[in-house]
């Protein structure tokens, strides 16, 4: 999809916000959100591409206004009900409903590390013969499916 996330080539986004000696996380909750996202992806219910597409589906004005980790938080909240992990009522209460089922065993660090690495890239199938050689001239089709695509808008009408 060619939503607001597809930023390459847009004008008017202003100067680049550089912060000297920037911390990894600006607030403790940002680290928690990052870790929660990584740990939940490690359960294998969705892939990295699904995660990316979920960010792309955020309303454009929210996408622009929210900070990076606010977008990640929002995405994870949406995924909770999308994947049947928690109900909105449970999210609101921060507590499981009485009698709600539990996952066992809980995800360990070793499991997270193993799955975290393995699940990130989709395989590039070496059995598929590439259509083009390195350096060969190509023209990108002006094609925008509604799902996640790696063809950015700035390249969609160009030859290179």
């Amino acid at each position: 999809m060619n939503g607001i996330h597809d930023m390459g080539g847009r004008h008017g986004m202003g100067p680049i916000p550089y912060e000297k000696n920037e911390p990894v996380f600006h607030e403790p909750w940002e680290g928690r959100v990052y870790a929660l996202n990584r740990a939940m992806r490690a359960h294998g219910k969705w892939t990295l591409d699904v995660d990316r597409h979920a960010l792309e589906l955020l309303p454009p004005e929210g996408y622009l206004r929210l900070s990076y980790y606010e977008r990640w938080l929002r995405r994870l909240e949406i995924q909770m009900s999308q994947y049947g992990i928690a109900t909105p009522e449970e999210l609101e209460a921060g507590k499981a409903a009485p009698g709600a089922s539990k996952v066992a065993p809980a995800l360990t660090m070793a499991g997270a590390a193993r799955f975290g690495v393995r699940s990130i890239p989709s395989p590039i199938d070496p059995a598929v013969r590439p259509l083009f050689k390195v350096g060969q001239a190509v023209r990108a089709k002006n094609l925008h499916p509604t799902g996640h695509t790696r063809l950015p808008l700035y390249a969609a009408r160009s030859a290179a």
């Binding site: 390459g8 916000p17 929210l66 009900s81 700035y154």
Partner: protein
């Protein structure tokens, strides 16, 4: 401040509206712009963020711990890894080794994940990390126009500027302007190549070795290699950029 007070006085309104969209899933997120507006965020500035995301995060974490999906120690360990263990010093080791060892450099440029593994490091992203070399005639610059993909296992999590609309939009149409903004001057006779990262392929720039560093050890060389030079927005050993990462 007015926005913040409004949040405090009517915390349930924004939250309930927001939760209604959650029930409709991603489709709701597309159609329902209003609930996002209802979660008032007066500014994108980290310094003045209202506590709302912190509270929501806490609720989410408690719930997922209770349901057994995550455990607190695992989350702590993940955070510690990215705050203290994985960072630009990993990538700097790779670059310094490549500067001193031509055979290693050749292997690195041909098959980065394999060469990186020789140093006991992981390229993290499976097998698809690619190292691109700067030369006197070629300058490489890395961006992720669609999101924030980045060789994070080698240089840590991406900084805010890398994920910003400004950098993502401009790097592909005005890379020389972007470089100037970082105080980096590239001659007109030098080709600038921009690499747009994908979820699979993460690029790392092998910066040029600074002049006058012939006698330095690998550790001394590594100290000249900054995160920004491995993204390609600055050069290695650029002391003019003191304070920059």
């Amino acid at each position: 401040m007015a926005d913040r007070q409004r949040d405090v006085q009517k915390p349930d309104l924004g939250r309930r509206d927001f939760l209604k969209t959650v029930t409709t899933g991603a489709a709701g997120a597309v159609a329902g712009a209003a609930p996002l507006s209802a979660q008032t965020q007066p500014s994108r500035d980290h310094q003045v963020l209202p506590s709302d995301p912190a509270l929501r995060t806490k609720a989410l974490e408690s719930l997922l711990v209770e349901k057994g999906y995550v455990d607190t120690a695992t989350l702590d360990a993940l955070i510690d890894t990215y705050e203290h263990k994985i960072g630009p010093h990993n990538g700097a080791k790779v670059v310094a080794k490549a500067w001193r060892d031509p055979a290693f450099k050749k292997r690195l440029l041909e098959d980065a994940p394999k060469a990186i593994a020789e140093l006991g490091l992981t390229s993290g992203m499976g097998d698809h990390t690619v190292v691109v070399e700067n030369t006197p005639k070629l300058h490489n610059l890395i961006v992720c126009t669609l999101c924030s993909c980045y060789p994070f296992s080698l240089i840590g999590l991406p900084p805010v500027w890398y994920k910003s609309a400004a950098y993502r939009s401009r790097a592909v149409i005005d890379p020389r302007g972007v470089l100037r903004e970082f105080g980096t001057t590239i001659g007109d006779d030098v080709e600038v190549r921009v690499w747009d990262s994908t979820a699979e392929i993460r690029y790392l720039v092998l910066p040029e070795r600074p002049a006058g560093t012939e006698g330095l050890s690998e550790e001394e060389l590594a100290s000249l290699v900054t995160r920004d030079s491995m993204v390609g927005v600055t050069k290695a050993g650029d002391s003019a950029r003191a304070g920059r990462a």
